[in-house]
Each structure stands twice: as structure tokens, then as C-alpha cells.
């Protein structure tokens, strides 16, 4: 299975289990900024039947619940029962408030009979929906202003309050009950109402290729338009994708982003960089941004997936000169230090897959629980998955990788104490530093790459179970930084040969409760 596929599955697993970073909105290119950084945006979401509009709306509200937003779902098609079923299996981790359901045509409390069956359509329906929405939102404002009365802004007439997320799913069904002109008026009125309530809303519309004029008309009323499409690949499998068609007054990216729908109805974005994957970054080619499978080609401190990409990049670099950034490609380097970890014996065929997965999960948990890892902000660290382990690049203090290694070793010792040999987790760690470059991937997620990562890998490869090995550049910095490091960092080889015949100085870090005092076997043989 490819790395991208692995990441996608991991994203889904985390999403399903609620263990991912679900506090982030789905990364539709260009939508985050306008939706999150402005007071109110009314968006039209359109696409063919079955593409996943309702589930996207569901996810939009689910994210809203997690963020503590007031959430309202308006539908003229769903009954309360159907609505409950739609939202029954969302994993919203203790929603602060239930989602309010509005459908003036559905009265769940009354028993269904031909006497009380509501036939509301036309302007009455519009009035009923708008009244219900206003009532619901005013109730929210009223409740909140009791706690914080100053939040009401009387100058511009806007009510700045608890954020509101509202979904109308769908306008298509309303079109069966309204004339197009009335629908347009409804959308205009709704837009006016929602803007007073700090609301972000999605209005869904099922379209065919014949409905472009409706999309255009509605698009001129709302603040932005999101498009979904459904295609089939050569095997007849559905390929769903989404993009922002336009957003008023904000930068947006018109790229299509493919997604799929998990068995529990969650939207999973592809390309290995789902927001739900916890922001982990894979290694991608500097030029084409494809995930690099196998060993990358490194040139001028950049990484490529093929000789062709490398040559094209070099030609561009040479042609554009110092203005290479005109192409949008990276041009500036900064220093980072790396922690490269590998689980020893993980690929032992006698270990069950379940056991292997369990060990990986435990190791991830232990790393995440280390203070050295936690105290570095998300923007200052990048995690690069790498087979049986991972590389973590830190753009902060150089001692962080060593501190993390020491803390992790102590935690592992405690963990292993009561475990059988098969359950024990053994690791080897390589630390190095060097220049890195930011590389934007297809989702505009900033990755980093540089020769320090490769060096950390080579250093780690020299070690056995329990070793914390350090490359010269980082070791020298650490030795000059604190006296205590002089007691724990020791030179073990001044001419250790790594790949391509390169010779490096190799240091090891150990004490009573971390590291391995033994000379690594490879270093011993290499002497």
C-alpha cells in the first residue's frame, strides 16, 4: 500500500475513533480563510445528486459543534426522524449544544393523519423558515447576552455573538415548493438575516449541467460558491471532488480536491494531508509535489522524486536566478534539528500485525506525552512518517531532539518494565541538524525538507536498540550549550562511513536511565 493510502487510512482511523485533530475544519483549498476569519459567509454548495453534499453539510455542522458554535439544520425534505438518523453517528466529542432542526412542514410531535398533515409551500413556507431561524438565533443571542450583555454591537446593527453555523439542505427540494423567484428572494432575505448573527451558512443545491443559470443567479446573492463533482475512474469507482468556485473579497484557490466518504459518513480528503490526519506531513517532490516513494533524489538541498523533476527544477532555478520564488518554488533555507526514530524488530515476522500496530500506537502516544514534544508549538515542528518510525523536524531550540530522546527513553523503560519480551518496545534514535526548506504541497500545507533529515537517518541507522546517536553538527552545538551535555554526549567514531563513502563524526548520548553505553555493532565493525 502506498504511503498516501496509508495516510488516508490513518486519517480515517483517527477520524472514526475521534482521535484525530478534529477541531480543524476540512481543508477545502481556499475556504479556510474566508470561513474562519470573517464574521459571516453564506456559501452555496452545488453538485450532482449523490456526490456527498448532505454529508459535507453534516461534517460542517459536526466541526461547528466541536468548536462550540450554534448549529442549525434547515430542511424541507427531511423529517425529524430522518434528521436524527443522519446525525446519530457523528462523533462530536461531547457536543456543547444539540443541532437545532427546522422544518416547518414536519411536526414530529403531532401524530400523522390526514387532518394534521401540513401542506406549506410558497411564501408561507419561506416566512415560516425565516421566522424559525430568527427565533432560534435570537434565543441563542438572548441566552448569551445574559452572560455577556456587552457583546451586542449596536453601532452597525450586527450582533457579534457566539458563532453560528447553519445549513439549508437543500434548495433543490425547496424549488419543488417555491417558484424560482421566491427562492431567490428567500436566499436574499436569509443572507440578510444571517449576516446579523455572525453566521456561516451552507445552502446546498443539486444540479445537473442544465442548471448553470440557477447557480449563477444564486451565486450572485451569496458570498461564495463551492462546487462538487462526481466522476468515475476506469474501474467504475466514484471519484468525488470539491473546490471553491468563488469567494467574495478573499483569496481562494480553485483547485479540485478529491475526497471520499467513509463508512460512517465522514468526509475524508485525499492526498495524504487530510486535516484529520493531525497535520502530519509526508515527503513530497519539490517540483511536482507528488509523494516520494522510496529514496528521494536530493540536489541543492531540495528533494525530488525523479531525475526529470530535478533537472526541470534546476533549469528553472538557473533561468529565473535569484527570482526562483517567482515560480512559487522555495528559495530560502533555515536551520532545523531532527529526531529520527526507528522501532527495532518491528518487522519481525513472528509479531502479529495487531501487535505491530499496537506498538506503533504506544510509541506515538509516548512521544506525544513528552514535554519536549508538547512544548514546541505545532508550527515549529513537522512530523514526517518513515516506515517503522518517524522523523520530527524542530524549528526551535537545538536541544529539543535530545531532550525528547531522553524523556522518551525514560518513558519506554517504565513501559517495558512490566512487559514480556514480545511486548517490549525497542527503539534507536538518530539526531542531526541542518538547513531545511519549506515546500508547499498540493494542499498548500508547508512541508520541510533538507539534508539534516537524511543525516539523522544515516546516524540512526548506525545504532542498535537503545542507542541515541548524534551527528557532529548537532553534537558540537549541544556540547557548547550546557555543561551537563558534556557528561552524556561522547564521541564514538571520528570516521564513521555512511552511504556514498561519506565519513562523519559520530557521537552517542547515554546515562544511567537513557541511551545505550555499548558501542554500536556497525561502528565497531567500521573501526
Amino acid at each position: 500500500m502506498s504511503r498516501a493510502a496509508n495516510e488516508l487510512n490513518r486519517a480515517e482511523d483517527q477520524n472514526n475513533s475521534g482521535g484525530g485533530d478534529s477541531s480543524r475544519s476540512p481543508l477545502i483549498p481556499g475556504i479556510d480563510l474566508p470561513v474562519q476569519n470573517t464574521n459571516s459567509k453564506i456559501l452555496l454548495l452545488y453538485g450532482p445528486s449523490g456526490v456527498g453534499k448532505t454529508l459535507y453539510c453534516r461534517q460542517f455542522l459536526r466541526e461547528g459543534l466541536i468548536k462550540g458554535h450554534r448549529c442549525v439544520f434547515v430542511s424541507t425534505a427531511l423529517s425529524k426522524m430522518q434528521f436524527n438518523a443522519l446525525f446519530s453517528n457523528i462523533d462530536s466529542r461531547k457536543p456543547v449544544d444539540p443541532i437545532e432542526f427546522i422544518n416547518p412542514r414536519d411536526d414530529a410531535a403531532a401524530p400523522l393523519s390526514r387532518h394534521n398533515y401540513k401542506v406549506i409551500s410558497g411564501k408561507k413556507l419561506v416566512t415560516a423558515i425565516l421566522s424559525n431561524i430568527i427565533r432560534s438565533l435570537e434565543t441563542t443571542v438572548g441566552n448569551d447576552t445574559k452572560a455577556a450583555p456587552s457583546t451586542r454591537d449596536s453601532i452597525d446593527g450586527n450582533i457579534s455573538n457566539k458563532a453560528v453555523r447553519l445549513v439549508v439542505d437543500s434548495l433543490t427540494h425547496m424549488l419543488l415548493l417555491l417558484r424560482e423567484r421566491t427562492l431567490m428572494q428567500f436566499v436574499m432575505d436569509l443572507t440578510d438575516v444571517l449576516k446579523k448573527f455572525n453566521a456561516t451558512a451552507i445552502l446546498s443545491l443539486t444540479t445537473s449541467s442544465m442548471d448553470q443559470s440557477l447557480v449563477t443567479n444564486l451565486g450572485s446573492v451569496v458570498d461564495g460558491v463551492i462546487e462538487m463533482r462526481l466522476k468515475e475512474d476506469s474501474y467504475g469507482l466514484a471519484i468525488r471532488s470539491i473546490r471553491v468556485r468563488h469567494i467574495k473579497g478573499a483569496y481562494y484557490d480553485p483547485r479540485w480536491l478529491t475526497f471520499r466518504i467513509s463508512t460512517n459518513g465522514n468526509i475524508i480528503f485525499s492526498n495524504g494531508h487530510s486535516s484529520l490526519a493531525g497535520g502530519q506531513a509526508g515527503l513530497t517532490c519539490t517540483l511536482c509535489a507528488k509523494p516520494i516513494i522510496g529514496a528521494p533524489l536530493v540536489r541543492s538541498d531540495f528533494v525530488f522524486d525523479s531525475k526529470e523533476c530535478m533537472e526541470i527544477y534546476q533549469r528553472l532555478e538557473n533561468a529565473y536566478g535569484s527570482k526562483i520564488s517567482d515560480t512559487g518554488l522555495p528559495s530560502e533555507a533555515f536551520d532545523a534539528s531532527f529526531f529520527f526514530i526507528d522501532m527495532v524488530g518491528l518487522s519481525d515476522p513472528t509479531l502479529s500485525v495487531k501487535n505491530q500496530v499496537h506498538k506503533i500506537e504506544i510509541l506515538n502516544e509516548l512521544i506525544h506525552s513528552c514535554d519536549a514534544f508538547r512544548k514546541v508549538s505545532t508550527g515549529k515542528k513537522v512530523i514526517l512518517p518513515a516506515g517503522d518510525g518517524m522523523a520530527i523536524g524542530f524549528l526551535s531550540k537545538p536541544e529539543i531532539p535530545l531532550e525528547l530522546s531522553i524523556q522518551l527513553h525514560r518513558k519506554l523503560r517504565a513501559y517495558n518494565e512490566e512487559k514480556s519480551l514480545a511486548e517490549e518496545i525497542g527503539v534507536r534514535i538518530g539526531l542531526a541538524s541542518g538547513p531545511v526548506f519549506t515546500v508547499a504541497d498540493l494542499n498548500n500545507v508547508q512541508n520541510i525538507w533538507g539534508p539534516g533529515i537524511i543525516l539523522a537517518r544515516r546516524v540512526m541507522d548506525a545504532g542498535d536498540k537503545g542507542h541515541i546517536l548524534v551527528a557532529e553538527s548537532l553534537a558540537q552545538v549541544l556540547l557548547s550549550l550546557k555543561d551537563e551535555y558534556r557528561q552524556i554526549i561522547r564521541l564514538i567514531s571520528d570516521k564513521y562511513k555512511i552511504k556514498h563513502g561519506q565519513q562523519i563524526k559520530l557521537y552517542t548520548a547515554y546515562s544511567d536511565d537513557f541511551g545505550n553505553p555499548q558501542i554500536p555493532a556497525k561502528v565497531f565493525i567500521n573501526r
Binding site: I312, N318, G328, A440
Partner: protein, 305 residues
Amino acid sequence: MSQCIAFHSYKGGTGKTTIACNLAAMLAFKGYNVSLLDLDVYAPSLHSYFDCNPDKWINDLLFENSELREIMVDMTPALTQYTAEGSNKKLGRLLVGFSNPQKEEIYKLEGTIKTANANIQLLRRFVQLREDLISDYDSDYVILDTSPGIRYWSINSLAVADVLFLTLKYGDLDIEGTIKMAKDIYGSFTKFGSKSFLLLNRVAGYCVPRAYALGSQPEKSNNNPHHNNIVQVPEEGPIELAVIRDELGSDTFLSDQTRMEMISSIPCYCDIQFKKKEFLTVLQHPDHPFAKQLEHLAMTEQIKV
């Protein structure tokens, strides 16, 4: 193996499009799979040349509004009429991707490149376009008809090509500019694996009397516009590599100045140039010196796949 060939020039009007289209057709006629792309994005003309108004353009692909299969138009049927009746000649395939001539689309492409994030996405899709034509469409040749001069999309087109043809019209003012551009830009590409060649177009020797063209030391005549541009033209067969004799002082002046080999000299073809519409002359008039010379070019080792 495949070859990506870019036709470029310092100025417009050097005949890039005509040569690119004819070479593409010639190669497809010989059985190769050829993809031809109009990358003269600022002044597209391939749609006029092929009289085609596609639903989707290269611009749509770059902005992710379409798939590759939607933008590549199969022009192979245009070739089949030139096969001899009853012939079992196996043609290759000629796919053409067109650039949108609408000014809004050109502004959009130009405007988008000013935004770094969008810029890199366009560049990546462009790189991917070339790769997909080779890997998914089994193209033996990808031929790029680029914008003249030093512009964003011409530089990008040259960067992705394996072979660069710097086209120039002899006896024109573009020689100086061409030499400067070759020095400034082409070195960047050849340093990293590209092969670049000069391609001289509209060289005297066909539309002027053959005897005159063949004259070893013709007298200068102010009445003859071609008096300084003489090509060695054999009695029969294709015209060999041009040897220019002129007041510039050296037979190899251009090659020396640009440090590029002159791969071919395309003879002046006023008879077809002034036709209302030139269209695949190499197939319509295979015995024309222009066609012969292009056939010779198509078979040169330097672009062989």
C-alpha cells in the same frame, strides 16, 4: 524513450507554429504518437491552424476545470486522407491541445502567476501535463509551440523540454536579439540536460532561382532581397545544413555566437506562405522542398526516439 521538443524564438513570426504543426504531422504520419501543445498562451493560433474550437482548453486543465482527456483533440483523421488509397500504412496518432485565445483567459493566466501559491499549482499541473502525455498517452513526441521571447510560460515550456529549437528568420532584425537571448537563457537549460539547436527558417534557395541559390559566389544585387542569404542547395534531395555566407563574416557566425548547432535550414516557401491557408504542407505536397527538409529534420539523430 520519448522526446519533448519546444519551438521557441526571440520574436514572433519566425514560423514556429507552421514548422511545429508540420513536423508533428510528419512524425505522426511516420507512425509515431505525437502530442502537440499550443503554449503560445499569449497569442494562441493552433486552433485557427486546425480550424478547431474545442470545448476544453489547456487553460482549463491548468485551472483544474478539465481532465487531460478532455483537452487533447485527436487530429489523426486529418492525416488519413493523405494515405494512398488501399494503403495499409499504419499511422501514429496526432493529439493536439489548444490554448484559449479569449482575452479573459489570457489575463487570468497572466494574473494568476502573480500569486505565489496559485503560481506553483499552475506550474505543477503544467509539469504533470507533459508527464501524463508521455506516460498515459504513450506519446513518442511531445511538441510544444511556445511563446516567443523571455516570458513566464515560454521559460517554463523550455524548462520541461528535452530538445529546444530556437527558430529564427534569416536576414531579419531578430539575429541580434536571438544571440543575446541564447546567451542569457539557453545556457540555463543545456547545463541541465536539454539539447538546444538553431533552426533557420525561410532561407533563400527555393523561391529564388535555383541557379542563383547555387551560385558559388553570387554577385550582390540590390534588387534581390536574398542576396545575402544563400543556402547550398543540391540538385536533388534534401537541402543539407545551411552554410550562410554573408557580410557577418563567418559561415558559422550564428553557431559560434549562440554556441548552438544549426540543425536545419528550412527553405523559403513563399508559394505556400502566401497561400490563403497553409495546412500540413508536408502531407499535401510531400515533394515540396519544405516538406523534404522537414522530413530530413524529423529523421535527424538529435531528435530520434
